[in-house]
Amino acid sequence: MTSLSETLSDSVVITKRNLIKVKRVPDLIVFATLSPIMFVVLFRYVFGGAIGGLPPGISYAEFLLPGIFAQTVVFGSTITGASIADDLQKGLIDRFRSLPMSRSAVLVGRTVADAGLNVISIAVMALTGLLVGWRINSSLGEAIGGFLVLLVFAYAISWLMAMVGLLVRTPEVVQNASFIVIFPITFIANTFVPLETFPAVLRTFAEWNPVSSVTLAARELFGNVPPGYPEPEAWSLQNPVLYTLLWTALILAVFVPVSVRLYKRTASR
């Protein structure tokens, strides 16, 4: 068995390896940040004027940005699956598994590096947001909390995607499959429009969708919910931070052990 400190040092080696790729392939960063910038600008200026139902005292930019953050970091996490599938295909996972290294380090190093990518894209989006009228109206501590909730939730999704990558084994398929699942999940939520306009069934789904709770948690922590905004009816949205953290814990509790177990037995074909 490997000790905790060995697992940590192996994970650092793997994280470093993954971040070197980000440095060598700047396209990764460019595309990881370009599409959120595009979303910010498109929604802000194309839909912004048409989307109604917002309470007085809040601009669409303030409503929108936390939603874009949530969608982008969740999508950012899907890269974990594609990268693991790529490593499997290229035989790198075989090599790692034949080394006397920790059995979880490859996955820890991968998910941590991808969280790092998410930090970069959130920073770029926040700057773009400030340019188009988004503001943080809360304390520094709350604002940091808002970013952390987003990143921690996305980190959990990374572990789910690690499992998908180990099962699906083809990077392109992982990419497309996750798009089909994640795109609607990030749209049937309060990310871009207020839930009040949704038809009943969709609305219930959206209320309990953790993407809604993480978005609302960020909105509250950034001070983007004006005073007097009606209290949501669903418990999940009355306690968005708690509900999001519960989901995060649940996803990690299930998918960390499942992914590590899969990793131990997986092999390229």
Binding site: M1, V13, I20, R24, G91, S98, L99, M101, A267
Partner: protein, 333 residues
């Protein structure tokens, strides 16, 4: 001399497909074993089990005296593996790749860097050390891959088809590196479908087909088993082959082998130059089609053909003959 690799009655099934149907191997310390067989014979499965990547269904496997199933972690720190595909990170430089693997073998930062430098030098990669592996040629990637598996000075090295896909020049270079390693005392298990490769590099050979050992011994022992000589013709027109076979059949001591695609004919014969002279006399009138004639000792391709009923590089699924029974060859077990 003790065995660096010991495998007994190893079995593995994938669904309804039997990959290994009871394989035994013994590789004495410091020697090179060539594990031969066509695609799908089970060579890679043996390597995967020995390198802890795969669990067998039954049987025993030991590497350097350690049980692979009970103490995989200890085995991992004593072995090096080079798989069929060059498992290098293409975005890392050659140096970074080696340093990373060194760190994961727990060599420590300084030693990892020193070893990386040494190995890049030894594998003619020093000039490319600081270029991402993406820019390497196929041969360079393979060399980097082997260098990575050597970084912790493994006692036992597994090379799974190390030259598949390489051009002839890189292949020759790779053979020199492997021969060099073997000369340094590393125990090597080498799988290959190239019989010439095993002939050049291996001390002992084990031939497997469809998950069974069908022969073992040294190259000479295997060749002696087939015996006799081969009379070979290459022709310009494959249409001439059937008639030639009929004319020469009386000289054959075993079934002639016709390869229409390569327009070649190989006939097992006994005797020397007089058989060749007799054959040419019989072929009088067909000589216009012949552009190459030769008499040679059997090579390992002939061994394979004789043992399995199909050529080494055939797709085993395409061969409908039943596998030959294991043939003891007074080998190295």
């Amino acid at each position: 001399m003790s065995n660096a690799i010991l495998v007994e009655e190893l079995q593995k099934r994938f669904g309804s497909n039997t990959a290994l149907a009871g394989v035994d191997l013994a590789v004495p310390e410091g020697s090179v074993l060539g594990l031969l067989g066509p695609n799908g014979a089970g060579k890679t499965t043996v390597v995967r089990i020995l390198t802890t990547l795969l669990q067998p269904d039954a049987g025993r496997a030991e590497v350097a005296g350690i049980d692979v199933l009970r103490e995989p972690d200890r085995v991992r720190s004593l072995i090096g593996l080079t798989g069929q595909y060059a498992a290098v990170d293409e975005y890392l430089t050659g140096f970074e790749n080696l340093e990373m693997v060194g760190r994961l073998y727990r060599l420590g930062k300084r030693e990892s860097r020193e070893r990386a430098g040494e190995l890049l030098e030894r594998f003619d990669l020093a000039d490319a050390a600081n270029r991402p592996a993406k820019t390497y040629s196929g041969g360079m990637r393979r060399r980097l891959d082997i260098a990575a598996s050597l970084i912790a000075r493994p006692r036992v090295l597994f090379l799974d088809e190390p030259t598949t896909g390489l051009d002839p020049r890189s292949r020759l270079g790779m053979w020199e590196f492997i021969a060099d390693l073997a000369g340094g005392g590393t125990t090597i298990l080498l799988t290959t479908q190239y019989l010439e490769e095993a002939d050049r590099l291996a001390d002992g050979m084990v031939v497997i087909d469809r998950g069974r050992v069908i022969a073992r011994g040294t190259a000479d022992e295997l060749k002696a088993q087939v015996g006799g000589q081969r009379l070979e013709f290459a022709v310009t027109d494959a249409g001439a082959l059937p008639a030639m076979v009929e004319l020469l059949r009386p000289l054959a001591v075993d079934e002639p082998h016709v390869d229409e695609q390569a327009r070649r004919l190989s006939i097992p014969v006994s005797g020397g130059a007089e058989v060749l002279a007799e054959a040419l006399r019989r072929l009088d009138g067909h000589t216009a089609d012949i552009f190459d004639v030769g008499l040679r000792r059997p090579d390992l391709d002939d061994v394979f053909l004789a043992l399995t009923g199909h050529a080494a590089e055939d797709d085993p699924a395409a061969a409908d003959k039943t596998p030959a029974e294991p043939v003891p060859v007074g080998g190295t077990r």
